[in-house]
């Protein structure tokens, strides 16, 4: 048997641990080594969304209404998908305007309206109190189940005096905790780092506890998921469980609930607190946008197995307690305690954050504006008003928790956990139009927001809250069926005769329609005040990169007045921080605009935007910038941005052009160098034969008595060198014609086979003289191509000649092949010489390029080439539409030059003429 004392010790021990963690977090924050500066902690703190309602209520809802419990988590998943720009924008605004709560946010958006802030705070109080009650109920109920099992939990709240009720003491202990860690700083826009660390820790605890029950259920109570499913299949009563039919309202109810959860996630005060106010770094949103949905998925993974196990094993009692009764029924001691602690984490986490958010709203949006208006503030004291403000907030914390307790004690019995939660969700949804539309539509104004929210919350009360009271027996339930005063069309669950919807979708439809309709409609037909216009522009344009709020004030005041104001409301220390870098100057000097803006921000962080504006207005003469001026700033900055962008583009273009120019210049220089080289090379080539001709001619002239045979030999040299000279000049002329495109070719249809044979015949005798073996392998019968026969023959002879020159010294061999390749003919000439290295292969087509022979001896009288043959050949082949290149010799191992020419079209009626005419 679990002793009550053990349970209480563990529970209070756990709360003490939270104190320690929170204290540690605050200490680290003071030292500047923040504990919560991580996206993971941020994501875990958002998981305060999972309350006791998730922990106990999900299983109950799954057992009764199938998979609809998942909607409460799919909605936030959708919201988190949009968080990288929606939440990010809210965080950016909250930072710039020192927003302290959702009430402050909406009030600031609509011209720092005190009335609107108060309205939001009131709605939040009325709508969220039941939710806090729900957490108290969960703690009390789970404690009772834990202690009394297997007897049904003794829960006769109304019968017992409140001091005997444990939830009363839980509420008080939590109040102490929240006062200690939630109201350390006056500035509510400063982060509660210790509290956030404690919340993140609680998120881990509740996840671990729930997963433990899940694993226990699936793998200990049953032999894995297969066994559980088999048992379900064997139970006919469970057929059809978990289908859409079990969802209240069917498909329509499904969509309604999805929208409800989506909007509530963004507008619940505690979610706004952790998402926006407690955000340390905008970049954390990136990670949290998927990590938090992942957390939701994990904590829901075992809900259905636990619900099914509860239905199968019939542990009895409330379906909301199945998480606890399943391990209890197995006679375990430790696991139920862990579950209880998990549930406690979920409940306390929610209550802590929600109470801090609500107490800030109460002090800044309800109490402060009233005190300011009725002048009930005491004259300046030494500590200023800081102590008084904190006292207001502390009292508010106690009152809020006591209200939650009262609601729990008086109404709580009538509802299941989920029902209370959804009623609160629907209330929070009424903030969504004013907040989300106001974030993107500059035209939304204060009157529209106020009327819309009022209408929305009244419809919510009529369609959800009051019927709830009626069902718990506070009111006569007759009006539910017949309508008030017999007015049939006013029935709360079927307003205007809309029957057959589930109550939440029904309520959401009417309240949001009225809310949005009034917000948009009234905004379209009324005017905004100047401050409203300014704030609307600042909110909707919040992501504008150059928007610095500091420059927006233009009023005038003296530094002394400003200092006195801050001193009075914030205390000396905070005043000193605002004036930190400006102490040296005189108090009679006018305060610069940036200082006024800074002072207003500091006041807003402590008192809320509306009160801060009232106080600043009391000392500053002149107005803040109006809409025109702000739009002017936005326009000039966007113009400047646009100019910058264009300028950048132009300079990029310029850089690109100059790069191109440099490259062209480089190319020209290279060409110039090549030309010089060419001229030098040509001169050199021409001078060699000329020199020998001249020297031999001089010998012949100067030596009349030279022997006849010698004279004949010298004349022979002169003739040969003259021939070489004229051949060289011919080649140079050819090359010049080729390069200038003036080479006269007379292309016609001819047979390449015949031409090849003819060329071979022409060189055969010469090659044989040099001892070169010449093979011919022509694999086609005829090879019709278009070409200039003389020029082509020149190319083939040149190839054969070259191959002969570079064939091996021992047993030189040359081989000519002619094959058909696709629609081309390929004539290749290979030799058995050393071959040409791959990197040299293109260079042999350069002018005057000479292949270096390793032995460097013109063996067997093979003449050196001019170095122009191959470039000319390539030029001719290219003119005829073909290609000429070098590759490895396929059979002889040396180099192989391949000439490829396209096949002549067949429709040419004139038959091929002999190429050798």
């Amino acid at each position: 048997m679990r002793h009550d004392l053990v349970v209480l010790t563990v529970a209070f021990g756990y709360l003490a641990l939270l104190f320690v963690i929170a204290a540690w977090g605050d200490r680290r924050a003071e030292q500047g080594r923040s504990l919560i500066g991580s996206p993971t902690v941020y994501a875990l703190s958002i998981a305060v969304y999972c309350t006791a309602w998730t922990f106990y209520g999900s299983v109950g809802r799954a057992a009764q209404h199938g998979p609809s419990f998942l909607l409460i988590y799919l909605g936030p998943t959708l919201a988190m998908l949009l968080s990288p720009f929606v939440v990010r924008k809210m965080v950016r605004i909250a930072g710039a305007q020192r927003i302290t709560s959702i009430a402050d946010f909406i009030s600031a958006r609509y011209g720092k309206s005190a009335g609107l802030g108060a309205l939001v705070a009131l709605i939040a109080l009325v709508g969220i109190t039941p939710y806090i009650a729900l957490q108290l109920k969960a703690i009390t109920l789970s404690h009772a189940v834990l202690v009394d099992y297997p007897a049904p939990p003794a829960l006769r709240l109304a019968a017992a005096p409140f001091w005997a009720d444990k939830s009363f003491w839980v509420a008080l202990v939590l109040a102490a905790f929240i006062i200690l860690f939630g109201t350390r700083h006056l500035d509510a826009s400063e982060r509660h780092e210790g509290m956030v660390a404690a919340i993140a820790f609680e998120s881990l605890v509740k996840l671990a506890a729930f997963l433990s029950v899940g694993v226990f259920t699936v793998f200990v109570l049953f032999n894995g998921p297969g066994d559980l499913l088999a048992r379900v299949a064997a139970t006919p009563e469970l057929a059809g469980a978990m289908s859409l039919e079990t969802v209240p309202g069917g498909a329509l109810g499904w969509v309604g609930m999805l929208v409800l959860a989506f909007l509530a996630f963004l507008t619940l005060p505690r979610q706004f607190q952790v998402l926006v106010v407690e955000n340390v770094d905008e970049r954390h949103i990136t990670r949290a946008s998927w990590l938090f949905p992942l957390y939701l998925l994990a904590i829901n993974l075992f809900v259905i197995p636990i619900a099914l196990a509860g239905l199968l094993l019939g542990t009895g009692g409330d379906p909301d307690s199945v998480v606890l009764t399943l391990p209890l029924a197995s006679g375990l001691d430790g696991l139920p305690l862990l579950v209880f602690i998990g549930g406690l984490s979920a409940a306390t986490g929610m209550m802590i954050v929600e109470t801090i958010a609500l107490s800030t709203m109460v002090s800044n949006q309800l109490v402060m504006p009233l005190l300011l208006r009725f002048g009930r503030l005491p004259r300046a004291t030494r500590r200023g008003l800081a102590g008084r403000l904190l006292a207001i907030r502390r009292v508010a914390i106690v009152l809020i928790l006591l209200m939650g307790y009262l609601y729990h004690a008086l109404v709580g019995d009538a509802y299941s956990l989920v029902t209370i939660g959804l009623v609160s969700f629907a209330a929070a949804c009424q903030f969504a139009p004013a907040m989300l539309i106001g974030l993107y539509w500059r035209g939304a104004n204060r009157l529209g927001a106020a009327l819309g929210m009022t209408a929305g919350i009244l419809l919510w009360a009529w369609t959800l809250l009051i019927p709830g009271f009626a069902q718990s027996g506070w009111l006569d339930a007759g009006f539910l069926a017949d309508g008030p005063f017999g007015l049939d069309w006013l029935r709360p669950y079927a307003l205007f005769g809309l029957e057959g919807w589930d109550i939440y979708t029904h309520s959401l439809l009417w309240s949001l329609t009225a809310n949005m309709g009034l917000l948009v409609g009234v905004s379209l037909f009324t005017r905004q005040g100047p401050l409203e216009q300014t704030q609307a522009a600042l909110f909707t344009e919040a992501m504008h990169p150059r928007l610095a709020q500091a420059s927006l004030w233009q009023g005038q005041t003296s530094r002394g007045e400003l200092r006195a104001l801050l001193d009075r409301y914030l205390g000396a220390a905070a005043t000193a921080r605002v004036f930190a870098d400006r102490t040296a100057e005189d108090d009679d000097q006018p305060a610069p605009a940036a200082l006024i803006a800074h002072a207003e921000q500091a006041l807003a962080g402590a008192l809320g935007n509306a009160s801060a504006r009232v106080l600043i207005d009391s000392v500053v003469r002149g107005e803040a910038l109006d809409l025109e001026a702000i739009l002017g700033i936005l326009d000039t900055t966007s113009e400047t941005l646009e100019m910058n962008r264009r300028l950048e583009q132009k300079s990029r273009e310029l850089a690109h052009t100059s790069e191109e120019l440099r490259a062209a210049n480089e190319r020209l220089r290279e060409l110039d160098r090549l030309k010089d080289e060419f001229v030098a090379m040509v001169s050199h080539e021409l001078r060699t034969p000329l020199t020998s001709i001249r020297s031999f001619a001089e010998i012949l002239r100067d030596s009349p008595d030279l022997p006849e045979d010698k004279r004949a030999r010298f004349l022979d040299v002169v003739v040969r060198e003259s021939q070489r000279l004229s051949r060289l000049i011919e080649e140079i002329l050819d090359l010049a014609r080729l390069e200038s495109g003036r080479l006269a070719l007379s292309p016609r249809r001819l047979d390449l086979v015949e031409l090849a044979r003819h060329s071979v015949e022409a060189v055969q005798r010469l090659q044989e003289e040099r001892g070169i073996a010449l093979d011919v392998a022509i694999e086609v019968d005829d090879a019709p191509v278009i070409g200039d026969p003389d020029r082509l023959e020149q190319v083939i002879i040149n190839l054969l000649d070259n191959a002969g020159k570079f064939a091996a010294d021992e047993a030189p061999r040359v081989k000519l092949c002619l094959v058909r390749h696709k629609a081309h003919y390929r004539l290749s000439v290979e030799d058995n010489g050393p071959g040409i290295a791959p990197e040299e292969r293109e260079r042999v087509f350069e002018k005057f390029h000479q292949i270096e022979r390793s032995d460097d001896t013109p063996a067997r009288g093979r003449p050196r080439g001019s170095g122009l043959g191959l470039p000319i050949s390539r030029g001719i082949v290219a003119h005829l539409g073909g290609r000429l290149w070098v590759e490895d010799a396929p059979s002889l191992g040396g180099a192989c030059l391949v000439m490829e020419l396209p096949e002549a079209p067949a429709d040419k009626e004139t038959p091929a003429e002999p190429a050798t005419s």
């Binding site: 998908l81 949009l82 720009f85 499913l229 859409l244 498909a251």
Partner: protein
């Protein structure tokens, strides 16, 4: 990747997720499986996991770019 392209992708993903979680597709998944249970919960968890995976890929991948 520029900011407007990221926003476009996020909106596309949100539309996809909304479609996956809403009735027309849901009704297809809502069939009775072999054990007498509906396939709906399994479908929801798989679709949910897929959306989270895509979001994680989108956000973390962007950091490296």
């Amino acid at each position: 990747m520029n900011a407007s392209r990221l926003i476009e992708r996020l909106i596309a993903l949100t539309v996809l997720a909304t479609a996956l979680f809403s009735p027309p597709l849901l009704l297809i998944a809502d069939r009775v499986g072999p054990g007498g249970l509906s396939w709906l919960p399994l479908y929801l968890f798989v679709a949910w996991g897929l959306v989270i995976g895509l979001m994680a890929w989108l956000m973390e991948h962007r950091d490296q770019e």
